[in-house]
Symmetry: C2
Subunit: 278 residues, 2 copies
Protein backbone atom coordinates (compact mmCIF):
# COMPACT_ATOMS: atom_id res chain seq x y z
CA UNK A 1 0.00 0.00 0.00
CA UNK A 2 1.37 3.37 -1.02
CA UNK A 3 0.59 6.11 1.53
CA UNK A 4 0.71 9.78 0.60
CA UNK A 5 0.01 12.93 2.57
CA UNK A 6 -1.80 15.83 0.95
CA UNK A 7 0.42 18.64 -0.29
CA UNK A 8 -1.15 20.89 2.35
CA UNK A 9 -2.75 19.56 5.54
CA UNK A 10 -3.13 20.19 9.25
CA UNK A 11 -1.70 23.22 11.00
CA UNK A 12 -1.40 26.44 9.12
CA UNK A 13 1.76 28.55 9.17
CA UNK A 14 0.51 30.77 12.01
CA UNK A 15 -0.34 27.86 14.31
CA UNK A 16 2.96 26.06 13.64
CA UNK A 17 4.80 29.28 14.39
CA UNK A 18 2.83 29.91 17.61
CA UNK A 19 3.51 26.39 18.91
CA UNK A 20 7.22 26.77 18.21
CA UNK A 21 7.22 30.07 20.08
CA UNK A 22 5.40 28.41 22.99
CA UNK A 23 7.98 25.61 23.09
CA UNK A 24 10.75 28.22 23.20
CA UNK A 25 9.15 29.77 26.31
CA UNK A 26 8.60 27.04 28.91
CA UNK A 27 7.03 27.90 32.29
CA UNK A 28 4.70 30.45 30.75
CA UNK A 29 1.02 30.56 29.81
CA UNK A 30 -0.83 31.28 26.62
CA UNK A 31 -3.51 33.96 26.74
CA UNK A 32 -6.45 31.99 25.36
CA UNK A 33 -6.06 28.52 23.83
CA UNK A 34 -3.22 28.50 21.30
CA UNK A 35 -5.15 26.00 19.15
CA UNK A 36 -8.55 24.28 19.16
CA UNK A 37 -7.06 20.92 20.09
CA UNK A 38 -7.03 19.79 23.69
CA UNK A 39 -4.40 17.05 23.10
CA UNK A 40 -1.92 19.60 21.83
CA UNK A 41 -2.65 22.02 24.67
CA UNK A 42 -2.10 19.18 27.17
CA UNK A 43 1.16 18.23 25.45
CA UNK A 44 2.51 21.80 25.73
CA UNK A 45 1.54 21.82 29.41
CA UNK A 46 3.13 18.45 30.13
CA UNK A 47 6.30 18.79 28.04
CA UNK A 48 6.98 22.54 28.39
CA UNK A 49 4.90 23.62 31.36
CA UNK A 50 3.03 26.09 29.15
CA UNK A 51 -0.28 26.81 30.86
CA UNK A 52 -3.45 28.43 29.65
CA UNK A 53 -5.23 31.51 31.00
CA UNK A 54 -8.43 33.11 29.77
CA UNK A 55 -8.36 36.52 31.42
CA UNK A 56 -6.00 39.26 32.58
CA UNK A 57 -6.72 38.30 36.20
CA UNK A 58 -5.60 34.72 35.67
CA UNK A 59 -2.60 35.96 33.68
CA UNK A 60 -1.24 37.83 36.68
CA UNK A 61 -0.10 34.51 38.19
CA UNK A 62 2.51 34.14 35.42
CA UNK A 63 5.64 36.12 34.56
CA UNK A 64 5.58 35.34 30.86
CA UNK A 65 2.46 35.41 28.72
CA UNK A 66 2.22 34.17 25.15
CA UNK A 67 -0.30 35.96 22.94
CA UNK A 68 -1.97 33.20 20.96
CA UNK A 69 -2.39 33.00 17.17
CA UNK A 70 -5.70 34.89 17.11
CA UNK A 71 -4.21 37.84 18.99
CA UNK A 72 -5.86 39.71 21.86
CA UNK A 73 -7.43 43.12 22.32
CA UNK A 74 -5.27 46.22 22.47
CA UNK A 75 -6.68 46.87 25.93
CA UNK A 76 -5.70 43.48 27.34
CA UNK A 77 -2.23 43.79 25.83
CA UNK A 78 -1.84 47.16 27.53
CA UNK A 79 -2.97 45.73 30.87
CA UNK A 80 -0.47 42.86 30.71
CA UNK A 81 2.37 45.23 29.89
CA UNK A 82 1.29 47.63 32.63
CA UNK A 83 1.50 44.76 35.13
CA UNK A 84 5.13 44.32 34.08
CA UNK A 85 4.55 40.95 32.41
CA UNK A 86 6.90 39.65 29.75
CA UNK A 87 4.66 39.43 26.71
CA UNK A 88 5.64 37.09 23.88
CA UNK A 89 3.63 37.86 20.79
CA UNK A 90 2.70 34.73 18.85
CA UNK A 91 -0.13 36.46 17.01
CA UNK A 92 -0.23 35.15 13.45
CA UNK A 93 1.30 37.74 11.09
CA UNK A 94 -1.84 37.40 8.97
CA UNK A 95 -3.82 38.64 12.00
CA UNK A 96 -1.34 41.35 12.99
CA UNK A 97 -1.82 42.81 9.50
CA UNK A 98 -5.57 43.65 9.83
CA UNK A 99 -4.89 44.95 13.37
CA UNK A 100 -2.38 47.41 11.93
CA UNK A 101 -4.63 48.33 9.01
CA UNK A 102 -7.56 49.06 11.33
CA UNK A 103 -5.36 51.22 13.58
CA UNK A 104 -3.90 53.14 10.63
CA UNK A 105 -7.11 53.59 8.63
CA UNK A 106 -9.21 54.65 11.63
CA UNK A 107 -6.54 57.20 12.49
CA UNK A 108 -6.73 58.54 8.93
CA UNK A 109 -10.47 59.07 9.31
CA UNK A 110 -11.77 56.06 7.42
CA UNK A 111 -14.90 54.32 8.68
CA UNK A 112 -13.91 50.73 9.45
CA UNK A 113 -15.82 47.69 8.21
CA UNK A 114 -14.65 44.31 9.48
CA UNK A 115 -16.05 41.27 7.71
CA UNK A 116 -16.09 38.70 10.47
CA UNK A 117 -17.77 37.22 13.52
CA UNK A 118 -17.88 39.83 16.27
CA UNK A 119 -17.69 37.09 18.94
CA UNK A 120 -14.53 35.51 17.51
CA UNK A 121 -11.33 36.34 19.47
CA UNK A 122 -9.44 37.24 16.27
CA UNK A 123 -12.08 39.81 15.36
CA UNK A 124 -12.44 41.17 18.88
CA UNK A 125 -8.70 41.79 18.75
CA UNK A 126 -8.75 43.38 15.28
CA UNK A 127 -11.73 45.63 16.11
CA UNK A 128 -10.08 46.79 19.33
CA UNK A 129 -7.38 48.54 17.29
CA UNK A 130 -9.84 51.03 15.80
CA UNK A 131 -9.45 54.53 17.16
CA UNK A 132 -13.11 55.29 16.52
CA UNK A 133 -15.27 52.48 17.85
CA UNK A 134 -18.48 54.34 16.88
CA UNK A 135 -17.40 54.21 13.25
CA UNK A 136 -16.33 50.57 13.29
CA UNK A 137 -18.78 47.96 12.05
CA UNK A 138 -18.22 44.22 12.38
CA UNK A 139 -20.58 42.40 10.05
CA UNK A 140 -21.15 39.11 8.26
CA UNK A 141 -23.56 40.29 5.54
CA UNK A 142 -23.95 43.50 3.50
CA UNK A 143 -27.49 43.92 4.89
CA UNK A 144 -26.08 44.69 8.31
CA UNK A 145 -24.65 47.92 6.87
CA UNK A 146 -27.99 49.28 5.72
CA UNK A 147 -28.86 52.44 7.61
CA UNK A 148 -25.38 52.75 9.11
CA UNK A 149 -23.50 56.06 8.91
CA UNK A 150 -20.66 55.12 6.58
CA UNK A 151 -19.31 58.53 5.66
CA UNK A 152 -17.46 59.00 2.38
CA UNK A 153 -14.31 56.97 3.11
CA UNK A 154 -14.43 53.34 4.21
CA UNK A 155 -11.68 50.77 4.78
CA UNK A 156 -12.57 47.09 4.90
CA UNK A 157 -10.65 44.07 6.22
CA UNK A 158 -11.72 40.44 6.61
CA UNK A 159 -11.39 37.71 9.19
CA UNK A 160 -8.58 35.45 7.93
CA UNK A 161 -10.80 32.37 7.58
CA UNK A 162 -13.73 33.90 5.69
CA UNK A 163 -14.76 32.93 2.17
CA UNK A 164 -13.57 35.28 -0.59
CA UNK A 165 -16.96 35.07 -2.31
CA UNK A 166 -18.71 36.46 0.77
CA UNK A 167 -16.10 39.18 1.12
CA UNK A 168 -16.74 40.23 -2.48
CA UNK A 169 -20.45 40.67 -1.75
CA UNK A 170 -19.70 43.22 0.96
CA UNK A 171 -17.13 44.96 -1.22
CA UNK A 172 -19.71 45.17 -4.03
CA UNK A 173 -22.28 46.63 -1.67
CA UNK A 174 -19.88 49.32 -0.50
CA UNK A 175 -18.42 50.12 -3.94
CA UNK A 176 -21.36 52.26 -5.00
CA UNK A 177 -22.20 53.65 -1.57
CA UNK A 178 -19.01 55.50 -0.67
CA UNK A 179 -16.65 57.84 -2.48
CA UNK A 180 -13.54 55.88 -1.59
CA UNK A 181 -13.30 52.28 -0.48
CA UNK A 182 -10.00 50.74 0.60
CA UNK A 183 -10.20 46.99 0.31
CA UNK A 184 -7.59 45.00 2.21
CA UNK A 185 -7.87 41.35 1.34
CA UNK A 186 -6.73 39.84 4.64
CA UNK A 187 -8.23 36.42 3.96
CA UNK A 188 -5.65 33.66 4.43
CA UNK A 189 -5.33 30.92 1.82
CA UNK A 190 -4.40 28.13 4.24
CA UNK A 191 -7.92 26.67 4.50
CA UNK A 192 -8.39 26.65 0.74
CA UNK A 193 -4.94 25.19 0.17
CA UNK A 194 -5.83 22.28 2.46
CA UNK A 195 -9.11 21.82 0.60
CA UNK A 196 -7.54 21.93 -2.85
CA UNK A 197 -4.76 19.55 -1.82
CA UNK A 198 -7.32 17.12 -0.35
CA UNK A 199 -9.35 17.16 -3.56
CA UNK A 200 -6.41 16.43 -5.81
CA UNK A 201 -5.01 13.74 -3.54
CA UNK A 202 -8.44 12.06 -3.19
CA UNK A 203 -8.72 11.90 -6.97
CA UNK A 204 -5.78 9.52 -7.22
CA UNK A 205 -6.48 7.57 -4.00
CA UNK A 206 -8.56 4.40 -3.65
CA UNK A 207 -8.84 4.97 0.10
CA UNK A 208 -8.71 8.35 1.81
CA UNK A 209 -8.26 9.09 5.53
CA UNK A 210 -9.15 12.53 6.91
CA UNK A 211 -7.93 13.18 10.46
CA UNK A 212 -9.47 15.75 12.80
CA UNK A 213 -12.06 16.45 15.50
CA UNK A 214 -15.54 15.14 14.75
CA UNK A 215 -16.84 18.60 15.64
CA UNK A 216 -14.22 20.48 13.64
CA UNK A 217 -16.05 22.23 10.84
CA UNK A 218 -12.99 22.54 8.64
CA UNK A 219 -12.25 18.79 9.02
CA UNK A 220 -15.84 17.93 8.13
CA UNK A 221 -15.48 20.10 5.06
CA UNK A 222 -12.27 18.27 4.09
CA UNK A 223 -14.03 14.93 4.56
CA UNK A 224 -16.88 15.97 2.22
CA UNK A 225 -14.35 17.06 -0.40
CA UNK A 226 -12.45 13.75 -0.02
CA UNK A 227 -15.68 11.72 -0.24
CA UNK A 228 -16.82 13.44 -3.41
CA UNK A 229 -13.51 12.50 -5.08
CA UNK A 230 -12.94 9.06 -3.52
CA UNK A 231 -15.91 7.00 -2.33
CA UNK A 232 -13.86 5.06 0.28
CA UNK A 233 -13.10 8.08 2.46
CA UNK A 234 -13.10 8.00 6.27
CA UNK A 235 -13.10 10.71 8.92
CA UNK A 236 -11.21 9.72 12.11
CA UNK A 237 -10.00 11.55 15.20
CA UNK A 238 -7.04 9.28 15.90
CA UNK A 239 -5.41 5.97 14.97
CA UNK A 240 -7.66 3.88 17.27
CA UNK A 241 -10.55 4.24 14.84
CA UNK A 242 -8.71 2.71 11.88
CA UNK A 243 -10.05 -0.65 10.60
CA UNK A 244 -7.89 -3.09 8.63
CA UNK A 245 -10.69 -3.95 6.18
CA UNK A 246 -10.58 -0.36 4.83
CA UNK A 247 -7.19 -1.11 3.28
CA UNK A 248 -7.91 -4.57 1.87
CA UNK A 249 -7.06 -4.73 -1.85
CA UNK A 250 -6.23 -1.03 -1.86
CA UNK A 251 -3.15 0.33 -3.57
CA UNK A 252 -3.09 4.03 -2.79
CA UNK A 253 -4.04 5.63 0.52
CA UNK A 254 -4.29 9.41 0.74
CA UNK A 255 -4.16 11.24 4.06
CA UNK A 256 -5.29 14.72 4.96
CA UNK A 257 -5.92 16.48 8.26
CA UNK A 258 -7.91 19.43 9.61
CA UNK A 259 -6.30 22.69 10.66
CA UNK A 260 -6.25 21.77 14.38
CA UNK A 261 -4.69 18.33 13.99
CA UNK A 262 -1.10 18.14 15.27
CA UNK A 263 1.55 16.33 13.27
CA UNK A 264 2.21 13.77 15.98
CA UNK A 265 -1.38 12.48 15.72
CA UNK A 266 -0.99 12.27 11.94
CA UNK A 267 2.28 10.32 12.34
CA UNK A 268 0.59 7.81 14.63
CA UNK A 269 -2.14 7.30 12.03
CA UNK A 270 0.42 6.73 9.27
CA UNK A 271 2.27 4.19 11.38
CA UNK A 272 -0.91 2.32 12.25
CA UNK A 273 -2.02 2.17 8.61
CA UNK A 274 1.37 0.72 7.64
CA UNK A 275 0.89 -1.99 10.27
CA UNK A 276 -2.68 -2.76 9.20
CA UNK A 277 -1.70 -3.00 5.56
CA UNK A 278 1.09 -5.51 6.18
CA UNK B 1 -53.64 69.26 -20.92
CA UNK B 2 -51.28 69.32 -17.97
CA UNK B 3 -47.61 69.31 -19.03
CA UNK B 4 -44.86 68.28 -16.64
CA UNK B 5 -41.11 68.00 -17.07
CA UNK B 6 -39.23 65.13 -15.47
CA UNK B 7 -37.53 65.96 -12.18
CA UNK B 8 -34.18 65.38 -13.92
CA UNK B 9 -33.72 65.70 -17.68
CA UNK B 10 -31.36 66.98 -20.37
CA UNK B 11 -27.98 68.48 -19.63
CA UNK B 12 -26.09 67.26 -16.61
CA UNK B 13 -24.46 69.62 -14.13
CA UNK B 14 -21.05 69.46 -15.84
CA UNK B 15 -22.42 70.34 -19.30
CA UNK B 16 -24.56 73.20 -17.98
CA UNK B 17 -21.52 74.56 -16.16
CA UNK B 18 -19.27 74.23 -19.24
CA UNK B 19 -21.77 76.08 -21.44
CA UNK B 20 -22.05 78.88 -18.91
CA UNK B 21 -18.25 79.15 -18.81
CA UNK B 22 -18.16 79.24 -22.63
CA UNK B 23 -20.74 82.03 -22.67
CA UNK B 24 -18.62 84.00 -20.21
CA UNK B 25 -15.65 83.78 -22.60
CA UNK B 26 -16.70 84.99 -26.05
CA UNK B 27 -14.21 85.06 -28.93
CA UNK B 28 -12.55 81.85 -27.80
CA UNK B 29 -12.65 78.21 -28.89
CA UNK B 30 -13.44 74.99 -27.09
CA UNK B 31 -10.84 72.25 -27.29
CA UNK B 32 -13.00 69.43 -28.62
CA UNK B 33 -16.80 69.69 -28.85
CA UNK B 34 -18.26 70.95 -25.58
CA UNK B 35 -21.33 68.75 -26.08
CA UNK B 36 -22.58 66.14 -28.55
CA UNK B 37 -25.16 68.47 -30.02
CA UNK B 38 -24.41 70.40 -33.19
CA UNK B 39 -27.28 72.90 -32.69
CA UNK B 40 -25.84 73.97 -29.37
CA UNK B 41 -22.30 74.23 -30.75
CA UNK B 42 -23.61 76.38 -33.60
CA UNK B 43 -25.53 78.56 -31.15
CA UNK B 44 -22.37 79.21 -29.08
CA UNK B 45 -20.50 80.07 -32.27
CA UNK B 46 -23.22 82.41 -33.55
CA UNK B 47 -24.16 84.11 -30.28
CA UNK B 48 -20.78 84.18 -28.51
CA UNK B 49 -18.23 83.58 -31.25
CA UNK B 50 -17.01 80.47 -29.43
CA UNK B 51 -15.31 78.27 -32.00
CA UNK B 52 -14.25 74.66 -31.94
CA UNK B 53 -10.78 73.17 -32.40
CA UNK B 54 -9.73 69.54 -32.36
CA UNK B 55 -5.96 69.75 -31.97
CA UNK B 56 -3.18 71.81 -30.44
CA UNK B 57 -2.18 73.07 -33.91
CA UNK B 58 -5.64 74.44 -34.59
CA UNK B 59 -5.77 75.87 -31.08
CA UNK B 60 -2.78 78.11 -31.77
CA UNK B 61 -5.02 80.41 -33.81
CA UNK B 62 -6.89 81.44 -30.65
CA UNK B 63 -5.83 83.38 -27.57
CA UNK B 64 -8.32 81.77 -25.21
CA UNK B 65 -9.06 78.05 -25.14
CA UNK B 66 -11.85 76.42 -23.19
CA UNK B 67 -11.18 72.89 -21.99
CA UNK B 68 -14.42 71.04 -22.59
CA UNK B 69 -16.39 68.93 -20.09
CA UNK B 70 -14.52 65.69 -20.85
CA UNK B 71 -11.15 67.28 -20.15
CA UNK B 72 -7.99 66.87 -22.23
CA UNK B 73 -4.68 65.09 -21.78
CA UNK B 74 -2.07 66.45 -19.42
CA UNK B 75 0.28 66.74 -22.37
CA UNK B 76 -2.07 68.87 -24.48
CA UNK B 77 -2.80 71.10 -21.49
CA UNK B 78 0.94 71.61 -21.01
CA UNK B 79 1.42 72.46 -24.71
CA UNK B 80 -1.35 75.07 -24.65
CA UNK B 81 0.10 76.70 -21.56
CA UNK B 82 3.59 76.62 -23.01
CA UNK B 83 2.30 78.49 -26.06
CA UNK B 84 1.13 81.22 -23.70
CA UNK B 85 -2.56 80.56 -24.31
CA UNK B 86 -5.18 81.60 -21.77
CA UNK B 87 -6.69 78.30 -20.73
CA UNK B 88 -10.17 78.26 -19.22
CA UNK B 89 -10.87 74.93 -17.59
CA UNK B 90 -14.46 73.81 -18.04
CA UNK B 91 -13.63 70.18 -17.30
CA UNK B 92 -16.50 68.68 -15.31
CA UNK B 93 -15.51 68.42 -11.63
CA UNK B 94 -16.59 64.78 -11.79
CA UNK B 95 -13.88 64.24 -14.43
CA UNK B 96 -11.23 66.35 -12.70
CA UNK B 97 -11.63 64.05 -9.69
CA UNK B 98 -10.45 60.80 -11.39
CA UNK B 99 -7.65 62.78 -13.09
CA UNK B 100 -6.39 63.85 -9.65
CA UNK B 101 -6.85 60.37 -8.18
CA UNK B 102 -4.86 58.78 -11.01
CA UNK B 103 -2.05 61.34 -10.60
CA UNK B 104 -1.93 60.89 -6.82
CA UNK B 105 -2.25 57.10 -6.71
CA UNK B 106 0.28 56.46 -9.47
CA UNK B 107 2.72 58.72 -7.63
CA UNK B 108 2.16 56.67 -4.48
CA UNK B 109 3.09 53.49 -6.35
CA UNK B 110 -0.36 52.05 -6.99
CA UNK B 111 -1.03 50.23 -10.23
CA UNK B 112 -3.85 52.10 -11.96
CA UNK B 113 -6.94 50.43 -13.38
CA UNK B 114 -9.36 52.65 -15.30
CA UNK B 115 -12.76 51.18 -16.08
CA UNK B 116 -13.65 52.89 -19.34
CA UNK B 117 -13.31 53.13 -23.08
CA UNK B 118 -9.69 53.83 -23.99
CA UNK B 119 -10.80 55.73 -27.10
CA UNK B 120 -13.11 58.11 -25.23
CA UNK B 121 -11.68 61.63 -24.72
CA UNK B 122 -12.60 61.62 -21.02
CA UNK B 123 -10.61 58.43 -20.46
CA UNK B 124 -7.67 59.50 -22.61
CA UNK B 125 -7.48 62.57 -20.39
CA UNK B 126 -7.79 60.63 -17.12
CA UNK B 127 -5.20 58.02 -18.16
CA UNK B 128 -2.74 60.73 -19.21
CA UNK B 129 -2.43 61.78 -15.56
CA UNK B 130 -0.79 58.52 -14.53
CA UNK B 131 2.90 58.85 -13.74
CA UNK B 132 3.50 55.24 -14.72
CA UNK B 133 1.87 54.48 -18.05
CA UNK B 134 3.26 50.92 -18.06
CA UNK B 135 1.30 50.20 -14.89
CA UNK B 136 -1.93 51.82 -16.07
CA UNK B 137 -4.61 49.60 -17.55
CA UNK B 138 -7.73 50.92 -19.25
CA UNK B 139 -10.28 48.13 -19.51
CA UNK B 140 -13.97 47.41 -19.99
CA UNK B 141 -14.10 43.84 -18.62
CA UNK B 142 -12.25 41.97 -15.84
CA UNK B 143 -10.95 39.46 -18.40
CA UNK B 144 -8.69 42.14 -19.88
CA UNK B 145 -6.71 42.12 -16.63
CA UNK B 146 -5.83 38.44 -16.80
CA UNK B 147 -2.09 37.98 -17.19
CA UNK B 148 -1.36 41.65 -16.44
CA UNK B 149 1.28 42.56 -13.84
CA UNK B 150 -0.91 44.11 -11.15
CA UNK B 151 1.50 44.23 -8.23
CA UNK B 152 0.16 44.22 -4.67
CA UNK B 153 -1.48 47.67 -4.61
CA UNK B 154 -4.09 48.74 -7.14
CA UNK B 155 -6.25 51.87 -7.39
CA UNK B 156 -9.34 51.83 -9.61
CA UNK B 157 -11.46 54.64 -11.04
CA UNK B 158 -14.34 54.56 -13.52
CA UNK B 159 -15.50 56.55 -16.51
CA UNK B 160 -18.30 58.82 -15.23
CA UNK B 161 -20.98 57.30 -17.48
CA UNK B 162 -20.33 53.60 -16.83
CA UNK B 163 -22.82 51.25 -15.17
CA UNK B 164 -22.21 50.58 -11.46
CA UNK B 165 -22.96 46.87 -11.97
CA UNK B 166 -20.12 46.53 -14.47
CA UNK B 167 -17.77 48.46 -12.19
CA UNK B 168 -18.57 46.06 -9.36
CA UNK B 169 -17.54 43.10 -11.52
CA UNK B 170 -14.06 44.52 -11.98
CA UNK B 171 -13.81 45.44 -8.30
CA UNK B 172 -14.80 41.86 -7.41
CA UNK B 173 -12.18 40.46 -9.74
CA UNK B 174 -9.46 42.59 -8.18
CA UNK B 175 -10.56 42.12 -4.54
CA UNK B 176 -9.00 38.69 -4.23
CA UNK B 177 -6.04 39.30 -6.53
CA UNK B 178 -4.25 42.12 -4.78
CA UNK B 179 -3.29 42.89 -1.21
CA UNK B 180 -4.79 46.37 -1.24
CA UNK B 181 -7.39 47.76 -3.58
CA UNK B 182 -8.45 51.39 -3.49
CA UNK B 183 -11.83 51.78 -5.09
CA UNK B 184 -12.84 55.29 -6.13
CA UNK B 185 -16.42 55.32 -7.30
CA UNK B 186 -16.21 58.08 -9.88
CA UNK B 187 -19.40 57.10 -11.67
CA UNK B 188 -21.77 60.06 -12.01
CA UNK B 189 -25.43 59.63 -11.15
CA UNK B 190 -26.76 62.08 -13.75
CA UNK B 191 -27.64 59.41 -16.32
CA UNK B 192 -29.45 57.27 -13.75
CA UNK B 193 -31.23 60.27 -12.27
CA UNK B 194 -32.62 61.12 -15.72
CA UNK B 195 -33.70 57.51 -16.16
CA UNK B 196 -35.36 57.24 -12.76
CA UNK B 197 -37.13 60.57 -13.21
CA UNK B 198 -38.38 59.51 -16.66
CA UNK B 199 -39.76 56.25 -15.25
CA UNK B 200 -41.66 57.90 -12.42
CA UNK B 201 -43.04 60.67 -14.65
CA UNK B 202 -44.10 58.18 -17.35
CA UNK B 203 -46.05 56.22 -14.74
CA UNK B 204 -48.44 59.11 -14.16
CA UNK B 205 -48.55 60.36 -17.78
CA UNK B 206 -51.02 59.33 -20.47
CA UNK B 207 -48.70 60.69 -23.16
CA UNK B 208 -44.93 60.97 -22.85
CA UNK B 209 -42.50 62.93 -25.08
CA UNK B 210 -38.78 62.13 -25.01
CA UNK B 211 -36.58 64.70 -26.77
CA UNK B 212 -33.10 63.95 -28.13
CA UNK B 213 -31.03 62.85 -31.11
CA UNK B 214 -32.31 59.72 -32.87
CA UNK B 215 -28.77 58.34 -32.63
CA UNK B 216 -28.27 59.33 -29.00
CA UNK B 217 -27.96 56.12 -27.02
CA UNK B 218 -28.96 57.72 -23.73
CA UNK B 219 -32.10 59.24 -25.33
CA UNK B 220 -33.05 55.88 -26.84
CA UNK B 221 -32.66 54.37 -23.38
CA UNK B 222 -34.93 57.05 -21.90
CA UNK B 223 -37.51 56.37 -24.61
CA UNK B 224 -37.53 52.63 -23.80
CA UNK B 225 -38.00 53.42 -20.12
CA UNK B 226 -40.83 55.85 -20.94
CA UNK B 227 -42.52 53.35 -23.28
CA UNK B 228 -42.46 50.57 -20.71
CA UNK B 229 -44.31 52.84 -18.25
CA UNK B 230 -46.59 54.72 -20.66
CA UNK B 231 -47.68 53.09 -23.92
CA UNK B 232 -48.22 56.43 -25.71
CA UNK B 233 -44.57 57.51 -25.63
CA UNK B 234 -42.81 59.29 -28.51
CA UNK B 235 -39.15 59.99 -29.29
CA UNK B 236 -38.62 63.29 -31.16
CA UNK B 237 -35.61 65.42 -32.05
CA UNK B 238 -37.47 68.74 -32.12
CA UNK B 239 -40.91 70.36 -32.10
CA UNK B 240 -41.48 69.85 -35.86
CA UNK B 241 -42.13 66.15 -35.31
CA UNK B 242 -45.01 66.67 -32.87
CA UNK B 243 -48.49 65.57 -34.08
CA UNK B 244 -51.71 66.99 -32.62
CA UNK B 245 -53.44 63.60 -32.57
CA UNK B 246 -50.97 62.39 -29.91
CA UNK B 247 -52.58 64.77 -27.40
CA UNK B 248 -56.25 64.16 -28.25
CA UNK B 249 -58.23 63.23 -25.13
CA UNK B 250 -55.03 63.21 -23.07
CA UNK B 251 -54.88 64.82 -19.65
CA UNK B 252 -51.27 64.53 -18.57
CA UNK B 253 -48.21 64.93 -20.81
CA UNK B 254 -44.79 64.07 -19.40
CA UNK B 255 -41.60 65.39 -21.01
CA UNK B 256 -38.05 64.15 -20.68
CA UNK B 257 -34.88 64.80 -22.67
CA UNK B 258 -31.52 63.16 -23.35
CA UNK B 259 -28.28 64.41 -21.88
CA UNK B 260 -27.28 66.35 -25.02
CA UNK B 261 -30.58 68.17 -25.48
CA UNK B 262 -30.36 71.90 -24.74
CA UNK B 263 -33.07 73.62 -22.75
CA UNK B 264 -34.07 75.94 -25.58
CA UNK B 265 -35.08 72.95 -27.75
CA UNK B 266 -37.10 71.58 -24.82
CA UNK B 267 -38.82 74.96 -24.36
CA UNK B 268 -39.82 75.04 -28.04
CA UNK B 269 -41.33 71.57 -27.67
CA UNK B 270 -43.33 72.60 -24.59
CA UNK B 271 -44.65 75.68 -26.39
CA UNK B 272 -45.67 73.67 -29.45
CA UNK B 273 -47.48 71.06 -27.35
CA UNK B 274 -49.42 73.83 -25.60
CA UNK B 275 -50.50 75.14 -29.01
CA UNK B 276 -51.47 71.72 -30.35
CA UNK B 277 -53.51 70.93 -27.24
CA UNK B 278 -55.58 74.11 -27.45
Amino acid sequence: LKIELAEHYGFCYGVKRAIEIAQQHPNSATFGPIIHNIDEINRLDKEYNVGLVDSVDEALKYDTLIIRTHGITKDNLKKLKKEGKKVINATCPYVTKPQQIVADMSQKGYTIVIFGDKNHPEIKGVASYSEDQDRTYTILTPEELIGKALGTKVAIVAQTTRKPEDFKKIVSFLTTRVVELRVFNTICNATFENQDATASLAKKSDVMIVIGGKNSSNTKQLYLIAKSNCKDSYHIENEDELESKWFKNKEFCGISAGASTPDWIIQKVVKKIEELAK
